[in-house]
């Protein structure tokens, strides 16, 4: 199959996927037991109050019409208005989302910076003590609750040692240009502000990155070990190539392709972890937004937020698949 044909097939797949996930969100919010109106108004609401709220939320029309309105709205980028603030939800989301992106990207860097070297080390000391220690490390970081690790770091580096700020995102730049505040600092030339915001970023990014690093460590190790056993690697060894050359030119390079896919697949895990990390560090991202709106019973906002996550996941998995197909023609078969 040509790349073009693959893109077409894959796009055709993305549409039903989107509709399905949107339907899942709809089912969760509208159809599962637990009517938003009852949840918002509590048990003592009068029928009149319920009717008024139902009208405001657009819940007074037949369920299939609600569904169609909702799907049509999502495709137009309309997620409704927040009950709490009255602001369009898409606008609110776009305000919080860049902060999540900053955290997620930083955490991904941390994860790769920890995971890949440890994976290389484990594969080189295969089945020896170092390997077992690294694997144990990988198994352990996977099971640490991310919020607990965050809190322990807050205690040690924020409360006791006072090296990093305990929580928050720090000061924001004077002007918002790109939406990504950290880039804006550099663009307006505010290096001091940049340094300060980095100090706020260190702990949340490290917390989330460490938890995810285990996946990359394991993957690097597996692929390195596999490549080192391949005939062409053995042939390279027998030709007398230096060990370093073999490790970095042959083995690591082969491990990079699956790593690229893994980065894409981990976006889901990253977003989930980001929700908890954000709450832990009072980081004003999408996760904090979601959780605070759950607390405020702002159901349109909760629904909009989940829809947004769904769209992100679909877009990212689409991009990942295309990248992979571009890099590895076998996928297209």
């Amino acid at each position: 199959m040509t790349l073009k044909a693959y893109i077409i097939t894959r796009s055709l797949l993305a549409l039903p996927m989107t509709i399905f996930l949107l339907s899942v969100v709809f089912i969760i919010v509208r159809i599962l037991p637990g009517n938003p109106i009852d949840l918002i108004l509590g048990p003592h609401a009068t029928p009149e109050m319920k009717t008024i709220l139902a009208q405001r939320l657009g819940l007074d029309i037949p369920i299939y019409l609600q569904y169609l309105h909702y799907i049509a709205g999502v495709f137009q980028g309309n997620l409704g208005k927040s009950m709490h603030t009255g602001i369009p939800i898409s606008q609110e989301i776009l305000q919080y989302f860049p902060n999540t992106v900053v955290l997620a990207v930083a955490a991904m860097f941390v994860a790769l910076a920890i995971g890949i070297p440890l994976g290389v080390l484990a594969s080189q000391r295969f089945s020896k003590t170092e390997d077992i220690i690294v694997r144990l490390f990988g198994a352990t970081v996977y099971v640490i609750p991310v919020f607990w690790l965050g809190m322990i770091l807050q205690l040690v580096f924020g409360v006791y040692l006072r090296i990093f700020p305990v929580a928050g995102i720090g000061p924001l730049p004077s002007k918002s240009l790109t939406g990504l505040y950290i880039l804006d600092f550099l663009l307006v030339g505010d290096l001091q502000g940049f340094a300060k915001s980095i100090s706020y970023l260190v702990m949340p990014a490290f917390t989330l990155g460490l938890i995810i690093s285990g996946v990359f460590m394991r993957l690097t190790r597996t692929y390195m070990v596999e490549t080192m056993r391949q005939d062409y690697t053995v042939a390279a060894v027998s030709r007398g190539l230096r060990k370093q050359t073999i490790i970095y030119k042959y083995a690591l390079r082969n491990a990079l392709l699956p790593l690229v896919t893994m980065i894409g697949l981990e976006i889901a895990g990253l977003l989930a972890g980001a929700v908890l990390t954000e709450v832990t560090f009072s980081w004003p991202g999408l996760g904090t937004y979601l959780v605070s709106r759950i607390g405020l019973r702002d159901y349109p906002a909760v629904q909009g937020c989940i829809v947004f996550f769904a769209v992100i996941v679909i877009v990212v998995s689409f991009i990942v698949d295309l990248t992979y197909a571009y890099l590895d023609p076998r996928v297209r078969l």
């Binding site: 199959m1 044909a5 077409i8 097939t9 055709l12």
Partner: protein, 329 residues
């Protein structure tokens, strides 16, 4: 005749991806079995010989009703297999069984030998627990897995390759079938135990009056066991005949080539070897005319256009070759 195969065809559709289906409308097929006919007598061991991929295993599966033919008919004892409903097919399984090539792969690793052998009885129903146990132990005994009680509770991994194949044979014998299709029964087992399995088949034919369709790529074992042999090439039968006739007086160039590849344990023996070049043709687009013509050293122009049919050249000896270069008048 116990089994009659008439103009049997089996085409497998070639799997296409979603996009390809949209772009092209033409369907392509693998012509695995393309119009073959033969019949097997009661108490006969009939050999079907050919290279891998020539359609001989597909023929075997068709003969027991495991897959449905695209066209053509198979009559077993007068009843047509492909027209049978599920319930009738189940009854037929009492009479027809199959032995597969790889004994390790044809046993469920999570099922004890006794259970595996008892399944055919349980599927047929009408047997009490007591009867089932007796039958299973007897079947184990027949295939010389003795003492049978010892093997009853074992898992396949606790058996050797030869023992596993005997367990597989026991499973196919437990219903006392009349006809067994044996698909390369000795190909995957140690050379040292092959003779035992071949003797077992021979004894079953003599003792139980059973009929076998032996599918093999190995002419030597076919010569040892079979009464008559059919040679298959690219989905077609090119030659059928009695074993001795076929080995001493082969008519088809392909048969001749196969025979000359069989080593003869006699240093003085000289043979005029026929070495064929090229490769087995694609079964998706088989060559026009005689399928063997691109590789045949005796091919004439007629061979490229006219498809040969089986011609009688001797006593029950048929060959599908137009020039018949070895035919002595």
């Amino acid at each position: 005749m116990l089994l009659n195969v008439i103009n049997l065809k089996k085409y497998f559709p070639v799997e296409k991806s979603f996009i390809e289906k949209l772009i092209t409308k033409t369907k392509s097929f693998v012509h695995a079995v393309d119009d073959i006919s033969f019949s097997i007598r009661k108490k006969e061991i009939f050999g079907l010989v050919g290279e891998s991929g020539c359609g001989k295993s597909t023929t075997g599966r068709l003969c027991i009703g495991l897959i449905e033919p695209t066209d053509g008919k198979i009559f077993f004892d007068g009843c047509e297999i492909s027209s049978l409903a599920k319930r009738e097919l189940k009854k037929l399984r009492k009479k027809i069984q199959m032995i597969f090539q790889d004994p390790t792969a044809s046993l469920n690793p999570k099922m004890r030998i006794g259970e595996a052998i008892s399944r055919p009885l349980k599927i047929q129903g009408n047997y009490s627990k007591q009867e089932i146990k007796v039958e299973v132990l007897q079947a184990l005994d027949t295939v010389a897995l003795t003492p049978p009680e010892n093997f009853y509770h074992r898992y396949p991994y606790e058996l050797s390759g030869g023992q596993r194949q005997r367990a597989v044979i026991a499973r196919s014998l437990v219903l006392k079938p009349e006809f067994v299709v044996a698909d390369e029964p000795i190909a995957m087992i140690d050379v040292s135990v092959r003779a035992q399995i071949m003797d077992l088949i021979e004894n079953l034919r003599k003792g139980r009056q059973m009929t076998f369709l032996l599918i093999t790529h190995d002419l030597a074992s076919a010569r040892y066991l079979c009464d008559r042999i059919a040679i298959m090439y690219a989905g077609k039968i090119v030659e059928i005949g009695f074993k001795n006739e076929l080995f001493t007086n082969p008519q088809h160039p392909y048969t001749k080539a196969l025979l000359s590849a069989v080593p003869v344990p006699d240093p003085k023996h000289k043979i005029d070897r026929i070495i064929i070049g090229g490769e087995v043709p694609s079964l998706i687009n088989p060559p026009k005319g005689c399928r063997f013509n691109p590789r045949c050293p005796y091919a004439e122009t007629v061979c490229q256009t006219v498809e040969p049919i089986l011609d009688k050249v001797g006593d029950e000896h048929y060959v599908a070759c137009i020039p018949k270069p070895f035919y002595k008048k």
